[in-house]
């Protein structure tokens, strides 16, 4: 009877949940439609806005330079800046975003350059402001190329080769296959997304099947049946797990499709150089296998919290902080320098996030991965056991 009873409870609870608009919203609409749309929209908007800003001519103020006609002429000849008359209040004008940047040219700059003396040009910017940064970059490029031209002229006057200033070159060569480079990049984000989706997907069903039942008065009805309470809670737990995994998988699929679309669009925007994003299906599958005990762990923990709560409102007030507690270790894995080791392999959530990152980048430290999987299985078993124990306690079931 036990397996049959669990299957009966599972089928009914799943049917019941799928008829609830809120489940459809949290399981399908948000991860499959809203999140990819938001991500795609945000990236496309930033690409478009970035491109538009690059085409805009920045407003620049030149401070000094009246006695340096050559430099001023070269600067104007670029047609890359809109010049604003000089003002002593230039710092406020930059701060208030009335102009994008200013450049201070010292007295007798042209003469000093001709005489081979040292001179210093200052570019004034609003650090962190995109338009100001672009203006400063253009000014910096102008003066750098001017300096290179002057250096090349001086070398030519002295009949010296240009190589004199560059006795050797330094090149960087990537020895890691593109698949692993891409995996390393994706590995920073993907486990985090899957963990978040596993947890987000489990929240609503875990509340609805426990505190929701208490509030609606159906818990007492269910408890009148001859099915053992362990089987009732296992049937419910399996439904929470199913919805959690379905949310994570649907989210992966839809966000993956969105990333591929963005890759193509961003490639077009950056002149045909596609972003180095490719996902190795075997690594992805391995990450999903690693996620299984984590999803059970979340389902068990949330079911226990839902069972303990008197009402969905109370359950929500416990589960929201729990979500934050899971976000932090999941995000810590993306920090530079945090690597998978034996002590960290025992920290729930963080261990799976780190293992997922390594697997995606093609690193398989089997001993550590085994410790991660084993410890997560133990934690998952503990949360399921807790949920079962709570479901057998009448002071929890009839808590008012």
């Amino acid at each position: 009877m036990s397996r049959r009873a669990i299957a009966i409870v599972y089928r009914k609870e799943l049917l019941d949940l799928l008829r609830d608009r809120r489940t459809i919203v949290s399981m399908i609409v948000v991860p499959v439609i809203v999140m990819p749309l938001l991500m795609t929209g945000l990236v496309l908007a930033s690409l478009k806005l970035g491109g538009k800003m690059r085409q805009e001519i920045p407003a620049v103020m030149v401070l000094g330079g009246e006695d340096s006609p050559e430099t001023m002429a070269a600067l104007r000849a670029l047609n890359a800046f809109s010049f604003v008359p000089p003002s002593r209040d230039f710092t406020n004008l930059i701060s208030d975003k009335n102009i994008n940047a200013a450049v201070g040219i010292p007295t007798n700059f042209d003469a000093a350059v001709r005489a081979g003396e040292s001179a210093s040009v200052t570019i004034y910017t609003y650090e962190g402001d995109f338009k100001s940064t672009l203006a400063a970059q253009s000014l910096d490029q102008f003066f750098q190329s001017m300096r290179e031209r002057i250096v090349a002229g001086r070398l030519a006057e002295r009949h010296l080769p240009e190589k004199l200033l560059a006795p050797f070159e330094v090149r960087k060569a990537n020895v890691v296959p593109p698949k692993r480079v891409s995996g390393n990049l994706i590995g920073m984000i993907l486990p985090y997304v899957v963990i978040m989706m596993c947890m987000t997907g489990a929240i609503y069903p875990s509340i609805d099947l426990t505190a929701g039942e208490k509030e609606r008065g159906t818990m007492e009805t269910l408890l009148c049946s001859p099915v053992a309470r362990t089987h009732l809670v296992l049937g419910k737990g399996l439904v929470v797990l199913t919805v959690s995994l379905a949310t994570a998988c649907l989210s992966l699929f839809s966000n993956g499709a969105a990333v591929m679309l963005l890759k193509r669009l961003a490639g077009n925007a950056t002149g045909g150089n596609p972003l180095p994003l490719t996902i190795d299906p075997a690594s992805l599958l391995a990450v999903l296998v690693m996620m299984l005990p984590l999803a059970i762990f979340f389902s068990g923990a949330m079911l226990a919290v839902g069972l303990y709560s008197r009402s969905p409102k109370e359950a929500n007030s416990y589960l929201q902080p729990m979500l934050i507690c899971a976000v932090v270790p999941a995000a810590v894995a993306a920090l530079p320098g945090v690597e998978l080791n034996y002590p960290l392999a025992l920290v729930p959530v963080l261990n799976v996030s780190l293992a997922g990152r390594e697997i995606m980048s093609g690193l398989f430290h089997w001993n550590c991965i085994a410790v991660v999987f084993g410890s997560m299985c133990l934690y998952a078993a503990a949360t399921v056991a807790l949920a079962v124990a709570l479901f057998k306690r009448e002071d929890v079931l009839f808590r008012t």
């Binding site: 009966i8 009805t221 009839f398």
Partner: protein, 245 residues
């Protein structure tokens, strides 16, 4: 049959300390009879019935329901009872048919038994019109019929009713009363709780007056009238309760 022997349930509350919700209750309810528990709010009626339905575990004492011990054989007890209370709600997103089928399956009924039993129950309760309607869209009266079908689908030998007419209008309440009488007619053991005197008078073969978790008086309506030299059950009830220290 239902037999409770010195059944006691103590709740421990941080603020109020120990609460003896059911205190040494002993009762015997025979097949083909309706045993009534009459008491005010907080008298311990619901706790007593929840103990018999194995939803709660007794602190001390014992009870046998349909030949099974509530402490050691709770699943067998539940397989042989139909429990209906104002608190046993329906799954709103399931249809009436799906809900009754679900509970039939939870009671281990194979499809060959379940289907014809469901058809005959729906016909008897005049529910075919509503069978595919979602429970949250049904009227209170029809919901009560679905609850009745849910309690009867496994044809239990014992029926436990905890204030089953609470919140119902007169017609729906009358239908529930008729259903309880019908259960007695079919030879089922019925235990029924209420604080409505008229329901007790109309239905019960034996009445137990429960106050602060204890049975203060027990007998048929005639026996109680004779013992307290009073015709009106309400007067009898008030007298017993007021005389209790």
């Amino acid at each position: 049959m239902i037999e409770a022997r010195q059944l006691t349930k103590i709740f421990r509350d941080k603020k109020r300390g120990e609460i003896r919700a059911v205190d040494n209750v002993s009762l015997r309810c025979q097949p083909g009879q309706i045993f009534g528990l009459l008491g005010g709010n907080g008298a311990g009626k619901t706790t007593c019935l929840r103990l018999l339905a194995t939803l709660l575990q007794p602190t001390s004492g014992a009870a046998t329901v349909a030949g099974y011990e509530v402490l050691t054989q709770p699943e067998k007890v539940r397989a042989n009872i139909g429990f209906l209370s104002a608190g046993t709600a329906l799954y709103g997103r399931l249809t009436a048919r799906e809900l009754v089928e679900y509970f039939g399956r939870l009671h281990g009924l194979p499809d060959v038994v379940l289907r014809p039993r469901l058809e005959s129950l729906f016909a008897a309760l005049d529910m075919n019109e509503f069978r595919d309607g979602r429970c949250d869209k049904l009227s209170t009266g029809v919901k009560q019929k679905v609850s009745i079908a849910r309690t009867l689908i496994h044809d239990p030998a014992v029926m436990i009713f905890d204030e089953p007419t609470r919140g119902l209008d007169v017609l729906a309440a009358r239908a529930v009363m008729a259903f309880i009488r019908e259960c007695r007619g079919r030879g089922k053991t019925v235990i029924f709780s209420t604080h409505v005197m008229s329901e007790m008078e109309k239905l019960c073969d034996t009445i137990a007056i429960l106050h602060r978790g204890r049975i203060l008086a027990e007998g048929s309506l005639e026996q109680l009238r004779e013992r307290f030299a009073c015709r009106d059950l309400e007067d009898i009830f008030v007298r017993i309760v007021e005389e209790t220290p």
